[in-house]
Amino acid sequence: MADLLVHTASAFAAGRPLRDGRVRSLLYLGVCLPDLLYKGLLYIGGAPTWLCEPTHSPLGLVVFCYAAALLFEEEWRKRAFAALLGGAYLHVLVDLGKNYMGSGVILWAFPFSMEAVELGWYYPEDTIYLTLPALGVIVLLSLLRFSARRPASP
């Protein structure tokens, strides 16, 4: 849960074309889901680190999001699954840019391979520099949405 503000800002930007607020709210949850599951298993469940790694792998996330989607009412499950998985993949894409000194961050082909990949664009602690820009993106997009929803004054 290191930088959920940045992840949520990315979901705000990606979810802007979505008209349904409910789908957007699921996308925002989806973008938080990998870290929520990882930290939940690690700190609340006391699980070893490797047990938590499928929460950040593309195939692993399909199962997590499917299980989460089943908790919604029947007619909403497909949309819930798509929005949660879309958000979770967005999270993984942003995390992929991290630099863990060559150790890798995403098990891209789990369970077929344990190879972890990274793009090495930024160090994990550098996300603090993105806090204010991310907040700016969220506020700006919220204002744009709010102004678009307001009826024009006579």
């Binding site: 949520t8 789990f110 369970p111 996300t127």
Partner: protein, 156 residues
């Protein structure tokens, strides 16, 4: 796949798959990047193991080696080569564990910048963001019988 048919079986299968994935990842990953304390406890077993220490503290500095403390439980170990910083500095390190000593051979090392200490602030913001996201989700999906009753009640 998303219908109510065999709902319990589907949910059970999904949860079982999640459990199997976790156990499998734990089993396959056991030998990858082991904890420093495990290497020190069984040095011959982990000889030549590749390690990544995301955060370690420089404890002392000598001319051709230095000591670092890392992990939970915290373990102190010697690292060959010139120190990248002074005692008290925090570093991120990758390299190889050698059972003779035991000691570490550096591949890459960097001193962590001072703003790494603001990690707690980022974590606190993340918790606030998560609560807001959950509140937003609840606003859209939570069942509120009182609201329905009021909306459906005849006026007058």
């Amino acid at each position: 796949m998303f219908s109510n048919r065999f709902f319990r079986w589907k949910l059970g299968a999904a949860l079982a798959t999640i459990a199997v994935m976790g156990v499998y990842a734990s089993h396959r990953g056991d030998g990858i990047n082991p904890g420093l304390w495990r290497c020190v406890a069984q040095p011959h077993h982990w000889n030549e193991a590749h390690l990544w220490l995301p955060s370690a503290r420089i404890v002392s500095v000598r001319e051709s080696w230095y000591e670092i403390a890392s992990g939970d439980p915290e373990v102190t170990i010697r690292v060959d080569g010139a120190a990248p910083g002074k005692p008290g500095d925090r570093i991120s390190w990758t390299g190889t564990f050698r059972s003779d000593g035991p000691r570490l051979l550096t591949e890459q090392v960097r001193v962590l910048p001072p703003h790494t200490r603001l990690r707690w602030l980022v974590e606190a913001i993340s918790v606030a963001v998560l609560l807001a996201v959950l509140a937003n989700l609840g606003r859209h999906f939570l069942f509120r019988p009182k609201v329905l009753q009021v909306e459906g009640a005849p006026r007058g």
